[in-house]
């Protein structure tokens, strides 16, 4: 096919035509959705709400390869899309039994006019943490419980050597009864398996990136690079819950303009002292704005999770036993703090 023919042809896109169709397993496509919570970058997929025979609603993610077909070299353009889909599908299947990770209920393929459309059916969330903030449905107990559940989700992934790499408020999905789960494994990386984003220093959203990548520094060790980023992102989430601002923009605001990543022309080691100073300022601001009764402990946890030096991140207790990025201590601390906050809330409610 020559290029002129490509320009003239209007590619039929079957992924957009699924509304009303019945799928394997009794699922029926009932509603298109512009954007699914947590799917902030889904340029190569189309979303729908599907319902099964028991009335359970779920999210269908149909792969849209039409743009790849329209490119000058469709075989090359298709390759990363297919790889990414296969990787995500395999990962979701592997995570099927994880209680705090949004997993695939099923996957399949449907043929329309002889063209195949591959899809994944995922759990459908009611909301996400970012929206929750604007709906004013944040309180201390909720935030701490969400942090606890996200830490559990991240821990479940890490135990399978999967690094999420894109944990951010819009990827913390809220289900009924205030249950939070980690969503969107599209940017994840698994140790020992060729991941589509393995070549990137930090595959997640730039606005949430740990500072070392913004300063063009790539830790050589896989664990430092991947799990070190994940726990930074967990800390960033903690900062977001209590201040409304992710940690990286907050750090950016505390740095002198000449020291910020877009201007800095030195090494990461040279900037680290100034990053520590900026991080200290961020923590002071955090303490001023934090509305929890456990601010000091939260600040301490924030300092462990988001140390500007990726090699120093992690709970000191975990470092002592040579599992620097272990999340179990964070899980139990968030659980304890959440339980205490919930008890305080219920006592206050009873008094009323």
């Amino acid at each position: 096919m020559n290029q002129e023919n490509v320009k003239g042809a209007q590619m039929h896109n079957p992924a957009h035509d699924l509304l009303g169709l019945s799928l394997e397993g009794g699922w029926k496509v009932v509603e298109p959705i512009e954007r699914y919570q947590g799917q902030t970058g889904g340029a190569f997929s189309v979303g729908y709400v599907v319902v099964n025979e028991q009335g359970k609603r779920a999210y269908l993610k149909a792969m849209d390869y039409s743009r790849a077909f329209q490119s000058a070299d469709p075989a090359r353009a298709l390759e990363p899309l297919v790889n990414a889909f296969n990787f995500e599908r395999d990962l979701l299947m592997e995570c099927r039994h994880m209680s705090r990770v949004v997993t695939a209920l099923t996957d399949g393929v449907i043929r329309l006019d002889g063209l195949p459309v591959q899809y994944l059916i995922l759990e459908l969330a009611d909301s996400d943490a970012r929206r929750q903030m604007f709906l004013q449905q944040f309180d201390d107990a909720w935030s701490l419980r969400a942090l606890h559940q996200v830490a559990v989700g991240l821990d479940q992934l890490h135990k399978k050597m999967i690094a999420h790499q894109d944990l951010k408020p819009s990827n913390v999905l809220i289900f009924e009864q205030k249950q939070s789960k980690v969503g969107d494994l599209g940017r994840s990386i698994k140790d020992g398996r060729l991941s589509p984003h393995e070549g990137l220093n930090f595959p997640g959203a730039l606005a949430y990136s740990p500072p070392e990548y913004l300063y063009r520094n790539r830790p050589e060790d896989w664990m430092v690079r991947r799990f070190g980023s994940d726990i930074y992102l967990l800390g960033s989430l903690l900062h977001f819950f209590y201040t409304g601002v992710a940690l990286t923009p907050a750090l950016g605001n505390q740095l002198d303009p000449n020291h910020k990543w877009d201007k800095w022309n030195g090494t990461f080691a040279e900037i680290l002292p100034f990053l520590y100073a900026a991080f200290t300022n961020v923590r002071e601001e955090f303490l001023k704005n934090c509305h929890s009764e456990d601010c000091e402990e939260l600040d301490r946890l924030l300092s462990y999770l988001c140390d500007p030096d990726p090699y120093k991140r992690g709970h000191p207790g975990n470092k002592a036993i040579n599992v620097p990025y272990g999340l179990d201590r964070f899980v139990s601390r968030f659980d304890f703090l959440a339980t205490r906050a919930e008890m305080r809330l219920s006592i206050a409610a009873k008094k009323k």
């Binding site: 604007f134 303009p257 910020k260």
Partner: protein, 512 residues
């Protein structure tokens, strides 16, 4: 009057040590590589596109975060950020502050040192104690922040706790072993505590010294203090030869090389590098140029150089040259405030304010200020004793002489002899006063220090005039031709002042 002690011997470009909040973002703290590649904006563009479709606050928030991270090149998304400021949603204060900060271009927090006069600086000691308490709290919260440790060390040094300061700066150095700023702070402190050899060792053990012009400058300076050649001299010279004169990162290295060649007697080379220093000077290299220029000649310092922020020392030296003593004292106050642990700043200022202006109240204040950080400094104690004696507090002066100064200086030292002479004159014992000044003069001549010798003569004349002895005018006439040969501006000012007093006394006697 005794002989006010001078403190302006060999000057080297020892790094300045300022609070981290004052230097953050300045050339000294910047990298030396090529400009970084721009932060990709495609993700921000995607969020802006999403916001344009949805107009939701959630998408506006993503635009805000992306925009802050992308930095100055982020020219899109301002409407989304404005929406966040005006939204009806009750947002947390930090979100609105971040949005306003982004739109207004507010970023970082560079502290500017307040200008304090002498009284305010002396009174600030209590403020420093409070500042230390705040720093300790900050360190309890963030013990890995090396800048806080360095700031704490500086405060400790400025309160005279030298050992504590050394311990604190070592912690900072351990936390940031390759940081230029921390290394330069440590070097400055170690030179201050007379451990220059340790400072040299510290620089030699850093990987980056051999390619960092700021550290090479410090290494050359410290090597000169220690009196041993620098291991990196050849590297430093080669780098300086390749470097552009316009590059501000090299100004101190040019200055250090200039000083090195001056010390070696290679005046032509010293002059060549000093010219280069002055193209883009730092406040420190400008002060070095002020010190060195009269010694090697042929250097004109452009007036525009004095606009450099915090160039107190350079300006003080400049005003000394012009014999503008009012401005000299003003800039010296700034210099003391800028280097509160230094002995050179108050030592120099107290000496010149006493000799050039005869204002012993100011001299006393400079000494008291300097003694906070350096309670055993001989120069400052001597000048304080002079100020006491001059202001009629003979007991205090004698007390300092007997209990402090005689433990620092030998009995035949010029300063001890001068102070003995002064207290004798002020107690009415003219004969002994003359005897001691003569001995002081002879001791200075023996040391081949003609300025000190001239000062001994001038101080004796001053005491004769104060006591209105019959021989006062004879002394003046005898000493004037000798002192006239001394070119030091403050000596000339003192001579001028004494000439006026002598003329007044002469007229008075003619009328009587």
């Amino acid at each position: 009057m005794t002989i006010t002690s001078r403190r302006d011997d060999a000057r080297r470009i020892i790094p300045r040590w300022r609070l981290s909040t004052e230097v953050t973002g300045t050339t000294e703290t910047l990298g030396s590589g090529p400009p970084p590649p721009p932060i990709p904006t495609d993700e921000l563009a995607f969020h802006v596109h999403q916001w344009e479709k949805s107009r939701s606050d959630e998408d506006a928030l993503e635009v805000l975060f992306g925009s802050i991270v992308v930095g100055d090149t982020a020219t899109i998304g301002n409407d989304a950020i404005k929406q966040l400021i005006e939204t009806k949603h009750r947002l947390q204060p930090m979100v609105k502050a971040a949005a306003i900060g982004k739109l207004m271009g507010i970023q970082g927090d560079r502290h500017v040192m307040p200008e304090l006069n002498l009284d305010e600086q002396i009174a600030e000691t209590q403020e420093k104690v409070r500042h230390i308490a705040a720093l300790k709290a900050r360190l309890r919260m963030a013990p890995r922040n090396p800048l806080s440790w360095a700031d704490y060390a500086r405060l400790a040094a400025s309160l005279g706790a030298k050992n504590k300061a050394e311990h604190l700066i070592r912690v900072a150095k351990a936390l940031a072993p390759e940081s230029r700023y921390i290394a330069r702070c440590a070097v400055r402190l170690l030179v201050h505590t007379e451990k220059a050899a340790e400072a040299k060792h510290l620089l030699e053990n850093m990987d980056r010294t051999k390619f960092d012009p700021w550290l090479l400058a410090a290494d050359l300076a410290v090597s000169s203090v220690v009196g041993k050649p620098s291991r990196y001299f050849k590297t430093a010279r080669e780098m300086a030869e390749r470097a552009s004169k316009e590059n501000p990162n090299f100004s101190e290295l040019f200055g250090a090389l200039s000083t090195h060649f001056y010390e070696e007697g290679a005046t032509k080379l010293a002059r060549r590098y000093l010219h280069r220093t002055l193209v883009k000077p730092t406040d420190n290299s400008l002060a070095q140029a002020e010190w060195l220029a009269p010694r090697i000649g042929g250097i004109v310092i452009p007036d525009a150089s004095y606009t450099i922020p915090a160039s107190f020392e350079a300006k003080a030296r400049h005003f000394r040259k012009l014999q503008d003593w009012e401005n000299f004292i003003k800039e010296s106050e700034g210099w003391c405030n800028d280097e509160p642990f230094s002995t050179r700043a108050p030592g120099n200022a107290s000496y010149i304010s006493a000799v050039a202006t005869g204002n012993m109240a100011v001299c006393q204040k400079f000494c008291e200020l300097g003694l906070i950080a350096n309670p055993s400094d001989g120069t400052l104690l001597n000048n304080l004793a002079v100020a006491y004696a001059q202001r009629g507090q003979i007991d205090k002066a004698r007390n300092l002489l007997e209990k402090r100064l005689k433990r620092i200086y030998k009995p035949d030292d010029v300063h001890i002899l001068g102070l003995e002479a002064l207290t004798a004159y002020r107690s009415g014992d003219i004969e002994n006063g003359r005897k001691f000044y003569l001995k002081a003069f002879e001791a200075a001549v023996e040391k081949k220090d003609m300025v000190l010798a001239a000062l001994a003569l001038l101080h004796q004349v001053q005491e004769e005039l104060v006591a209105s002895t019959m021989e006062a005018l004879e002394y003046f006439e005898a000493f004037e031709p000798v002192v006239k040969k001394i070119r030091e501006p403050e000596v000339q000012s003192m001579l001028e002042r004494l000439r006026t007093q002598a003329q007044f006394l002469s007229q008075l006697r003619r009328h009587m």
